[in-house]
């Protein structure tokens, strides 16, 4: 946790030092984890919505978004892959192994993630308020 904390703070510093109105550097994005990207995405959603950004709201949206991505991924999987992954995880497969299986399955993880996030955002912006 401490290490992540430090890393985040470094990122924060770099952001602070970015010139105003500058485009987001690619290398900056490359360094972010998915978790961080989602956090940024959610932050932007809240900002665009025009509501107050509370920690609780952020956490809720982040988790909801992550769940939605996971759900869509599962729904896109053929039956045998669902069975296989369940078994592998029960047999103790780690994150790396699981992601490898998913990647090898041919499921378009990128597109599903992207489209799910876009839809999530649109629904939020057009949907109910929190």
């Amino acid at each position: 946790m401490a290490q992540e904390d430090t890393r985040l703070k470094e990122l924060l510093d770099r952001v602070q030092n970015l010139p105003e109105d500058a485009e987001l550097p690619e290398e900056f994005l490359n360094e972010l984890t998915q978790e961080e990207i989602i956090a940024i995405y959610v932050e932007k959603m809240i900002a665009d919505k025009g509501v107050e950004a509370t920690d609780e709201l952020r956490a809720e949206l982040r988790e909801a978004l992550q769940d939605e991505i996971t759900k869509k991924m599962v729904l896109a999987m053929p039956d045998y892959l669902v069975t296989k992954l369940n078994q592998e995880i029960e047999n103790g497969a780690d994150e790396e192994a699981v992601n490898k299986i998913i990647d090898e399955s041919g499921i378009d993880v990128e597109t599903i993630t992207e489209q799910t996030m876009t839809a999530f955002r649109n629904a939020y912006l057009n949907g109910e308020d929190k």
Binding site: M1, D5, A39
Partner: protein, 1176 residues
């Protein structure tokens, strides 16, 4: 224009009446089965080997002659199986006969020396023998299935005999006689099961041996790893070896079965010949001596054959081979509908096949082998899994339907059994419920009590519930019910009371179960979403979108695993970048800061969700007033939808002027003013259609899970025939044709999108043009249907494909114009669907053959993917990167997918792309948005050079091979060369091995080749910003200028015109396929659908990439989606402002997931209830 073969349905070709003149399946069966039987008569050897298929065909023929047959019956699985068996075999037989004839011709022409001729003939004849073996297997499959079904019925009959005996309906003597007959029947069936299973097992012995070896290797490895004790290892090893030995024993049984069959046939024929001899002698055609000699010879032959029969029977009897049990599951209701019995038996067979296939797959996966042979086996097994799962689903649905029908009939008819006549002494009752022949269902025996009534009060005498009393009064006093329990004039009051009580008890239980299920569903619906724990319990769940608990369970597990997925991160980056291009600095800062302070993403969620996560997001829709021609500012719409529209683009303003819509969103509606058009085709009734093109009508009953693949193929084919008069469909078809579409004033071929649009315009505006074009296309279509087999490829929800789309725009003058365009990003299917293919005798899809002048060539040229001046070589190279899938059953458009060295369409998941450790770098390997990843990676390492190098290597990468799933043929025949793939081209083959590193093609980037060892992974492809490059411009649509496709000056098109072989005057028929005679065509008519037929392995499987179907913004509906048109004729303005893409991305993500929703019903209650239905 030349006419093709006359349409065999016998209807006139021209005229509106002939619009829907494509024959139905029953029509084709009616036409071709008699001919099939005649062919068998002329080929007794063939008939010998196909005794069972012949029998089925004869049965079918009788039905046809009775004129009672309908499509559903004709498409009954056992008929289809027999018909498919026949057609496969006969086609192959004819091909071999043709080959022999061809050898002879060549010898006469001097092409063969004597020795070469002899060798060629010997080779061909040996293929006959091989085919004979396959026949035997196919025929054995029929025997096996039938024997299982018959055995079930026979065993049920045995139980019924016992019941009737106890009932006093049979004397001891009668009972013993009937029992003996039933026992004999069961024994015969068991024997048939064993023998046919031996033949089937023997046919697949190699696979079984490979799987056993893999299993043994795995056991050894696990033992060495310490996962197994010595004892466990030895026990498991002994099991595997015993099973293998058993399987190997099948060979001798199979041979004996075939030998016996041949000998029995010889005996029958010899006896016929004896009769014939006698007749000839009596007619004076033979002398006495000739007669005697003939008789002796035939008798000797009979004797020898009888000996063979005896020896074969002994071998079979004494063989160590044991069949696997084919017993009915316990607890099956007695006296069931044979159809239900058969369906259950078929389900068990499919289940066993599935289980076996999964075990084999597991063994292969654990072996970790990636050689060609193993990969090929993997492909086959995957296909088996798909097919068997599909068969299980089909049978399950059928069983449910039959059970429901039985239950419904029983309940609806009150206690009065159908078929039971009042006062009739014979207790024939309950025919209603089960359709059981002669079963006295109304015979309430003491056994009835076992069905569920309270044993302590079997007659309900202690029950004072008024409801029960009323029920009892109604049923007990019902004349029909009493009639059931009256035998020989004597009313069995006690039995009747017990039966009525049993019925009541079961009814109440069922009602209780239904109520409980309803209450549970209501409780779940009212239940708040799970908290941060996120693990749904069985039967509960946050999300009704999941189809089963397995998915829910996986969802819960993946919550902890998925965040680290690199490819998901890539997608997330893309989503992030799609936001407006304003400064994100502040936002990022706030977000990261929040992360620092509240590090846990999994913090507790409050119950009140932000929005209801259990429902799909509402479509983004702008409700606009229906003001007809009211103009809408595109820019404003884009802004409202938060689309990434380049508002400053020049095109943006033009679009604003041209596009006249009143709403955007999920359901795009383009309001088109009515009555303001001049010269528009009558086909487009804008007033009624309200702007939505009626081009997305499903060509087949997509929701009907009971359809077999044959039926689907037939339905799609017929549906497609019915839309051949639609201008949008016509343009596509005409493009396939490739010849000059000379109609009226129009001259020239279709070699560009502009040409296609020109044809489309004319079809819309000129009735005469359209009629002529319809006939042109129908002729082409008939040729496809006549000469090739129909087949479907299953496309799963989420899989990706590309297609043309049609969009409609209202013009300034108030008219409307429809045009084609290509969606370079493709779409993801929102639901499962099927694509129709036409396959030749080699199983190749004729729409995807890489022949110059073939359908694929013509089509790709028409839509500009193959450059107009491309050389044949360049065209081949382009074609090798594209796989035409077929005609979408959803809407009739031709769909295709890009296949590149680093992706491979099999990446869709099931075709084993993933097996080869593609893993981490795999971005390039996936075919969805292949272009994006692929290009991304290429751009990383190679850029244009990469493309170039890929061109050299691509062919080798076997793009064609993978997609066909045809494996070896594909590799070689697609012109990919041998280096690249060599195997079924799942992408795993050779992509890495074939010089990924050495050739620097770009396979470096793919990382999928699982090579790892080739350095693909290490080349940093996947990590090199795949996806980072995504800006919509990196698609590798071949032929697209500027995307790495080097344009070279080439000769004019005339010099590189389509090449076709014999009969190629019209140029559009791929005459490279043999066996295109009408005779074969007729036989082929009956083929199609799932070539597996239950006995043979199907080729390939469906791809399972996630897909959704994007709807188009601006004009059209799903399937044919629209874009804004380029104003430059002849160009594909795919570089349009990204508005359509954005909307499509929005719409893609709003795919509605339908939940399967299965009713839970207590099995036991149902059993009890069914048992009760027996009594009535």
């Amino acid at each position: 224009m030349e006419r093709g073969n006359e349409f065999k349905a016998g209807q006139p070709i021209v005229g509106d009446e002939a619009m829907n003149d494509m024959p139905t399946f029953a029509d084709r069966v009616r036409e071709n089965v008699p001919e099939a039987l005649e062919y068998l008569e002329q080929h007794p050897d063939l008939k010998k080997n196909m005794a069972n298929a012949t029998r089925k065909l004869e049965e079918l023929n009788q039905l046809l002659e009775s004129e009672n047959i309908n499509d559903a019956e004709a498409a009954n699985s056992t008929f289809v199986s027999a018909v498919e068996t026949f057609n496969n075999v006969v086609r192959r037989n004819k091909e071999l006969e043709n080959k022999l004839e061809d050898h002879e011709i060549r010898k006469l022409d001097g092409e063969y020396s004597e020795a070469e001729y002899d060798q060629a003939v010997a080779d061909t004849k040996s293929q006959f023998v091989n085919e004979g073996d396959k026949l035997a297997a196919a025929d054995a499959g029929l025997v096996y299935n039938e024997a299982i079904a018959k055995n079930e019925a026979a065993k049920a009959k045995l139980d019924d005999l016992e019941t009737r005996k106890l009932d006093g309906d049979l004397s001891e003597e009668e009972y013993q006689a009937a029992k003996a007959a039933a026992d004999q029947e069961i024994a015969d069936n068991d024997r048939a099961i064993r023998e046919s299973q031996a033949v089937l097992t023997s046919d697949k012995l190699e696979d079984v041996q490979a799987a056993a070896k893999a299993k043994l290797d795995d056991l050894e490895t696990r033992k060495l790893d310490g996962d197994l004790s010595e004892e466990e290892y030895q026990a498991a090893k002994a099991d595997v070896e015993a099973n293998l030995k058993n399987a190997e024993g099948s060979t001798e049984v199979a041979k004996a079965v075939n030998d016996r069959k041949a000998a029995e046939t010889r005996i029958v024929e010899a006896k016929k010949a004896l009769d014939s001899l006698e007749t000839q002698m009596l007619d004076g055609q033979l002398s006495k001596e000739e007669y005697d000699n003939g008789v002796k010879k035939l008798n000797d032959e009979i004797e020898a054959s009888q000996k063979i029969v005896e020896e074969s029977n002994a071998i079979i009897e004494n063989s160590r081979f044991e069949a696997t049990s084919a017993d009915a599951p316990e607890g099956e209701p007695k006296g069931e509908d044979p159809e239900l019995v058969e369906a259950r038996a078929a389900y068990k067979v499919a289940e066993q096949l599935n289980k076996d296939a999964r075990a084999e797959m597991e063994a292969i996966e654990k072996s970790g082998k990636t050689d060609e042979e193993t990969n090929a086996a993997y492909e086959r097994i995957l296909a088996k899994i798909h097919d068997s799962e599909k068969a299980m689903r089909d049978m399950d649905a059928r069983i449910k339907a039959l059970e429901n029908a039985a239950a419904g009939t029983a309940e609806a008819g009150t206690a009065k059994p159908e078929g039971a006549e009042a006062g009739e002494a014979k207790p024939e009752g309950a025919k209603s419920a089960e359709g059981e022949d002669g079963k006295g269902a109304g015979e309430a025996k003491p056994e009835g009590a076992k069905a569920g009534a309270e044993e302590d009060d079997p007659k309900g005498e202690k029950d004072n519930d008024p409801e029960w009393k009323e029920f009892f009064d109604n049923y007990f006093n019902d004349e029909a019910v009493r009639g059931v329990y009256t035998r020989n004039g004597v009313f069995d009051e006690e039995s009747c009371r017990i039966a009525v009580r049993n019925f009541y008890v079961a009814k109440k239980k069922n009602e209780a179960a239904e109520k409980a299920a309803a209450a549970k569903a209501a409780a779940e619906a009212a239940k708040a979403p799970e908290g941060d724990d996120g693990k749904p319990e069985k039967g509960e769940g946050n999300d009704d979108d999941f189809e089963n608990d397995e998915q829910r369970g996986l969802f819960a597990k993946l919550k902890n695993f998925f965040k680290g997925n690199k490819r998901s991160k890539t997608g997330a980056e893309r989503a992030l970048k799609e936001g407006k291009k304003e400064t994100l600095k502040k936002t990022i800062y706030a977000a990261l800061l929040a992360l620092v302070t509240t590090m846990s993403i999994g913090s507790a969620l409050q119950n009140a969700g932000l929005f209801d996560r259990n429902t799909a997001p509402e479509p983004t829709k702008i409700e606009a007033e229906d003001t007809g021609n009211a103009e809408v500012d595109l820019n404003e719409v884009a802004e409202d939808l938060s689309l990434n529209v380049d508002l400053n683009a020049e095109k943006g303003e033009e679009l604003s002027d041209l596009v006249n819509t009143t709403s955007y969103g999920e359901d795009i509606e383009v309001n088109i003013s009515a009555g303001d058009y001049d010269g528009t085709s009558e086909f487009f009734d804008y007033e009624e259609k309200h702007g939505q093109h009626n081009l997305t009508k499903e060509l087949y009953d997509m929701g009907n899970e009971e359809l077999t693949d044959v039926q689907k193929a037939e339905q799609i084919a017929e549906g497609l025939a019915n839309v051949l008069d639609d201008p949008v469909e016509q343009g596509q078809f005409a493009a396939l044709g490739g010849t000059d579409v000379v109609i009226g004033d129009r001259e020239g071929g279709i070699t560009s999108l502009a040409d296609m649009n020109e044809v489309l315009d004319l079809a819309q505006q000129d009735d005469e043009f359209r009629e002529t074009l319809t006939e042109y296309n129908k002729e082409m279509y008939r040729d496809m249907v006549d000469n090739y087999d129909l087949q479907v490829e299953h496309r799963a929800q989420g899989t990706h494909h590309r297609s043309l789309y049609a969009y409609e725009m209202q013009l300034e003058d108030g008219t409307s114009d429809i045009n084609y365009a290509i969606d370079k990003d493709g779409v993801l299917a929102r639901e499962d669907f099927d694509a129709l293919q036409f396959v030749d005798e080699d199983g190749q899809n004729i729409l995807d053959k890489n022949d110059i002048g073939g359908y694929k060539y013509n089509f790709l040229k028409a839509i500009g993917i193959i450059a107009a001046d491309a050389t044949d070589e360049e065209a081949q190279d382009v074609m090798s990167k594209i796989r035409i899938i077929g005609f979408s059953g959803k809407c009739g458009q031709l769909i295709w997918e890009n296949i590149t060295p680093d992706t491979g369409s099999e990446g869709t998941g099931d075709e084993g792309t993933g097996r080869e450790d593609t893993g981490d770098e795999g971005t390039g390997t996936e075919n969805e948005d292949t272009g994006d990843e692929g290009t991304g990676t290429e751009n990383e390492g190679t850029g244009d050079e990469g493309t170039g190098t890929e061109n050299e290597g691509t062919g080798d990468e076997g793009t064609g091979t993978e997609n066909e799933g045809t494996g070896d043929e594909g590799t070689g025949t697609e012109g990919t060369g041998t280096e690249g793939t060599g195997t079924e081209g799942t992408g795993t083959e050779g992509t890495g091995t074939e010089g990924t590193g050495t050739e620097g093609t770009g396979t470096e980037g793919t990382g999928t080749e699982g090579t790892g060892t080739e350095g693909t992974g290490t080349e940093g492809t996947g990590t090199e910003g795949t996806g980072d490059e995504y800006d919509g411009k990196t698609d590798i649509l071949p032929g697209e200028p500027g995307d790495g496709w080097t344009v070279i000056d080439h000769p004019t098109p005339e010099e590189t015109g389509p090449v076709s072989e014999a009969g190629g005057d019209n140029g559009y028929v791929n005459d490279n396929t043999p066996g295109s005679s009408s005779e074969v065509a007729q036989d082929d008519f009956l083929n199609g659908g799932d070539q597996g037929g239950g006995n043979t392995d199907a080729d390939g499987g469906g791809s399972n990439n996630p897909e959704t179907e994007a709807t188009y913004d601006g004009s059209d509906t799903s399937g044919w989606k629209g874009d804004t048109q380029s104003e430059e004729p002849g160009t594909q303005d795919i570089q349009e402002p990204s508005t359509p893409e954005e909307v499509n991305a929005v719409n893609d993500s709003q795919a509605n997931q339908e939940s399967a929703g299965e009713n839970a019903s207590e099995d036991q209650i149902r059993e009890d209830h069914d048992a009760m239905m027996d009594r009535f």
